[in-house]
């Protein structure tokens, strides 16, 4: 390709600008789709983070900011969905420790619903745990007896 003649580069630059315009129309279409699928909820209350913050608002008020508690979740909950991160984000500056459970634990059991359920990760040692508070949304505050 040699853009020596006068019109060739002109046509080529128009072609490039057309490609960009096409790409812009594609973005505009994605904007249209996003606008149509826009949540009707108020700002900041539609995403998964907001859902977790709402669920944990009572737990936040119960625990002092200095606290360091354990965290456990239903084995059916995918790690890839980041439930521990979402909970930690809502609970900050309280620390949630997942690896070795401390005496007080924030339990996220939306699937099993109760410690008495056979699929619950604490089922085998359920007699060692006391439910301090059931937040009625899948979250529990439990304590080792």
């Amino acid at each position: 390709m040699q853009p020596t003649s006068g019109r060739k580069p002109q046509l080529f630059i128009y072609l490039i600008l057309s490609c960009i315009a096409l790409q812009q129309l594609y973005i505009l279409n994605s904007n249209r789709i996003a606008f149509l699928n826009k949540s009707t909820l108020p700002f900041g209350q539609s995403d998964s983070v907001a859902v977790y913050e709402k669920k944990l608002v009572n737990a936040v008020s119960l625990l002092p900011p200095k606290s360091k508690i354990g965290y456990i979740q239903d084995s059916g909950l995918s790690v890839m969905q980041g439930h521990i991160f979402l909970s930690q984000y809502a609970m900050a500056p309280r620390l949630l420790q997942e690896k070795s459970l401390s005496d007080t634990v924030l339990a996220n059991f939306p699937i099993s619903g109760t410690i008495e359920h056979p699929n619950n990760p604490l089922y085998t040692e359920r007699k060692n745990w006391l439910v301090l508070k059931d937040f009625k949304n899948g979250f529990f505050l439990i304590r080792r007896k």
Binding site: I13, C19, Y26, K38, F43, P65, Y89
Partner: protein, 476 residues
């Protein structure tokens, strides 16, 4: 109130940029505003971090910022210099012609398309931010989480570095969290608008910096085209709305590249531009760990080019000015790394198996394959932008005289990419998972700088629309 909270960083950044960068005009104005906003946010972030252990009250933060602003303004009046002469567009073979109607028409169409693209991008960003105001995974798992610890944890703010939340990477630098926490302090409450505005301002800064610098160095059409390529990349808006630190990092990397190019292409050479580039490099290290790799790559590339072109004496001086700018921020980073941050997971995860990884051809293959496949489909365009850019370069060719700064910029980007590849090869994590979850973001960090280097190298279409000024490009 939100605007007022962003005013001190802008004033601080703009004053410092204005002190170092004396060029006047609309393009230079946009460039200084873009540089100033990012620079100011970076400096305010550092000031807040330094004040956090001593006195994190609003008055202390405001007073420190005010003192800093007064110092910057004093420096501006003390170091008044004549306007910097840069042998730019007027002397280039592809400079804007006098009365070419074809040029004017194409530039006008490009400018309209640019404004439309900018509005389209703003709309896209606003809708994405409405859908996920807390950003994406890394935003709430790392950056905004740290901001909450800094702001909410009155005396327990150091819990942000606890090994209990090691999956949130407590060793990552704090530019973004610290600035967000500082702005919440100004507003006296947490609001999602702050992190959204910070992300948007850095993205706008990248667009302004890229478009204005190419316009100044080359011409308006080339500048618009560079901006259009960036704005037409859907991933640019996706990652901005995700509130990831890769956007600020991409901004600081681009700022270093642009400022060094300005400094090197000014006839008399400008010490203050090297210092400013150093400060921007320092802020890149304060944004993400990858910034440190980039700064090393920049220093090495400049030394290598200076040694190759036998300009070692001048090159040494330039490097020393760059180091003067970066040194104070590196000191703060060292303080942060030694005093607060735990060991990085990629460093701490190294053991004897590292040698096996380094000698494993399959890992090299995986990394190279990952980079090639992701590069060709980068940006979530309808087609491949790489093909479009290659065809464009083949059609218009490159400049007959490759500039020293362009060679050094390309070398810096290449060394950084090599560094990223090496990190992948020795990663303690599963290699496929690591590549799949991060390669897009790593490429994005360098994407605006790649576009800058590309549009600095490729001949502008205006050159071919001015028959009287023709000079054969090197490559066609």
């Amino acid at each position: 109130m939100l605007t007022l909270a962003f005013l001190p960083p802008f004033l601080i950044g703009f004053t410092i940029t204005n002190t170092c960068f004396k060029r006047q005009g609309t393009g230079a104005g946009i460039l200084k505003c873009s540089l100033g906003m990012g620079l100011g946010m970076g400096i305010c972030s550092l000031l807040y971090f330094l004040l956090r252990p001593i006195n994190p009250s609003l008055w202390a933060v405001m007073t420190t910022e005010l003192v800093f602003l007064i110092c910057a303004a004093t420096a501006f009046y003390l170091f008044k210099k004549p306007a910097l002469f840069i042998s730019l567009a007027a002397n280039k073979p592809d400079a804007f012609g006098k009365d070419s109607s074809a040029e004017l028409l194409i530039t006008r169409i490009a400018s309209i398309l640019f404004i439309f693209s900018l509005c389209n991008a703003l709309l896209n960003f606003s809708l994405a931010s409405l859908a996920q105001p807390n950003g994406d995974w890394d935003a709430w798992a790392i950056w905004n989480l740290k901001a909450r610890f800094l702001y909410r944890g009155t005396n327990e703010w150091t819990r942000v570095f606890s090994s209990i939340i090691d999956q949130s990477h407590p060793d990552y630098p704090l530019l973004l969290p610290s600035f967000i926490a500082r702005t919440w302090l100004y507003l006296r409450h947490e609001t999602l608008y702050v992190s959204i505005c910070v992300a948007g301002l850095f993205a706008l800064g990248i667009v302004g910096l890229l478009t204005a610098s190419i316009t100044i160095f080359r011409n308006r059409l080339q500048g618009y085209l560079a901006g259009l390529f960036l704005l037409s990349t859907p991933f640019f808006i996706v990652i901005t709305a995700a509130q990831y630190a890769d956007v600020p990092l991409a901004f600081f990397i681009l700022a270093v590249i642009v400022l060094l190019t300005f400094a090197e292409q000014s006839d008399e050479g400008s010490k203050s531009l090297y210092v400013l580039a150093g400060i921007m490099g320092g802020l890149a290290t304060w944004t993400k760990n990858e910034g440190l790799l980039f700064v090393i790559a920049v220093a090495f590339s400049r030394v290598a080019v200076a040694a190759y072109m036998r300009g070692w004496k001048k090159g040494r001086k330039q490097i020393s000015y760059f180091c003067m700018g970066i040194a104070p921020i590196l000191l703060i980073l060292v303080y942060f790394k030694l005093h607060f941050a735990p060991v990085n997971d990629l460093v701490g995860g190294q053991n004897l198996s590292t040698f096996d990884k380094l000698t494993s051809p399959s890992r090299y293959y995986k990394v190279i394959y990952g980079f090639i496949t992701k590069s060709t489909s980068f940006g979530r365009w309808i087609g491949s932008p790489a093909i479009l850019l290659i065809v464009y370069a083949l059609f218009f060719g490159t400049h007959s005289r490759p500039e020293k700064s362009n060679i050094a910029n390309v070398l810096a980007i290449a060394i950084t990419l090599l560094g990223y590849s090496l990190v992948y090869i020795v990663t303690p994590h599963d290699l496929t998972w690591h590549i799949n979850t991060s390669i897009d973001r790593l490429l994005f960090q360098l994407f605006p700088s790649m576009l800058f280097s590309y549009f600095m190298t490729v001949t502008s279409p205006t050159y071919f629309l001015q028959p009287e000024k023709r000079e054969e490009p090197a490559l066609q």
